[in-house]
């Protein structure tokens, strides 16, 4: 249960970061992304500050520790290939982010406002995730391995 408590605390800190920096406000995000308007550099500062803390923290953890504190293996991706789905997916994500001014963290964090735009965004986001999951159910890493032997694909 300690695992759940730590995850709850981390989620709360992450959300407080988004709320305090006003990244839950699509107006501020879009005023950063719109380079022609009255530009608001706030998002850039949030991003750089998050990395200034996150990068040394990550490097310290990954270089000095063999496992996480609560006896768990590091669940870090080891894939390094630049694939069409990485590029295409990131482009689709960018288009949606640039349209709405919300990404997954702020979309979920802003749910208590009960604003129709936030609810519509976040529900549609979950639907998009589910559609991708079901369309790719046979390719998932945790799917049972296919039977070996007959190779005609």
């Amino acid at each position: 249960m300690l695992v759940l408590l730590v995850a709850l605390v981390c989620g709360t800190l992450f959300g407080l970061g988004l709320v305090i920096s006003q990244m839950v406000n699509p107006a501020k995000v879009l005023n950063f992304l719109d380079v022609t308007g009255q530009w608001d550099p706030t998002l850039g500062v949030v991003f750089i500050c998050a990395l200034s803390v996150g990068l040394p923290f990550y490097q310290w953890v990954l270089r000095t520790r063999r496992q996480a504190v609560l006896d768990e293996e590091f669940d870090v991706p080891d894939n390094s290939s630049i694939t069409p789905s990485l590029i295409g997916g990131s482009a689709l994500f960018g288009a949606g982010w640039g349209l709405a001014g919300l990404c997954p963290g702020p979309g979920i964090t802003a749910l208590p406002t009960l604003l129709p735009g936030v609810l519509g965004f976040t529900i549609a986001m979950i639907v998009g995730m589910m559609i991708y999951r079901f369309a790719n159910a046979d390719k998932r890493v945790d799917a049972p391995p296919r039977r070996q032997g007959i190779s005609n694909s």
Binding site: T12, D34, L70, A91, L92
Partner: protein, 143 residues
């Protein structure tokens, strides 16, 4: 369409950004997990409690933070939606589909991915920042 003007707020951006970095680092140190909100949200729907449990707790924390903030500040959360509901839905759908296809979002690729110096995350971050800037600038130029 009129867009809400906002002011540059460097101080709260610094504090908030540092908290995001701290949370990401703590999650890795304590649980060995990447703080990618799109992956956490998608994985929260797993029927396996080992996979879903910590993710649901993280999401509960995100939602809880907005409520905590209102308790302590007494001020309502500023969330100025700039687009009509149908466009918010289209945006949300693209974000959901795109983050799964591309294996990450602003948090997973942008913060955690760059923090562990991943080449994949660097490319992904470059692409979604560029396409987001092009999209916003084009949409605002047209309306």
């Amino acid at each position: 369409m009129d867009f809400t003007l906002t002011e540059f707020t460097p101080l709260s951006a610094t504090v908030g950004g540092a908290l995001i970095g701290l949370s990401s680092g703590l999650l890795l140190l304590m649980l060995g997990k990447i703080a990618g909100v799109s992956g956490i949200a998608a994985g929260a729907f797993s029927s396996d409690f080992n996979k879903a449990g910590w993710r649901l707790a993280f999401i509960a924390g995100l939602i809880f933070s907005a409520i905590v903030y209102r308790w302590f500040s007494g001020a309502p959360l500023d969330v100025d939606i700039q687009m009509s509901l149908p466009w918010m839905i289209v945006g949300g759908f693209l974000v959901g589909l795109g983050t799964r296809m591309g294996s990450g979002c602003t948090a997973g690729h942008g913060i955690s991915g760059l923090a562990r110096l991943s080449k994949r995350s660097f490319i992904a971050t470059l692409i979604f920042f560029l396409t987001a800037m092009v999209t916003t600038t084009a949409v605002r130029g047209l309306v």
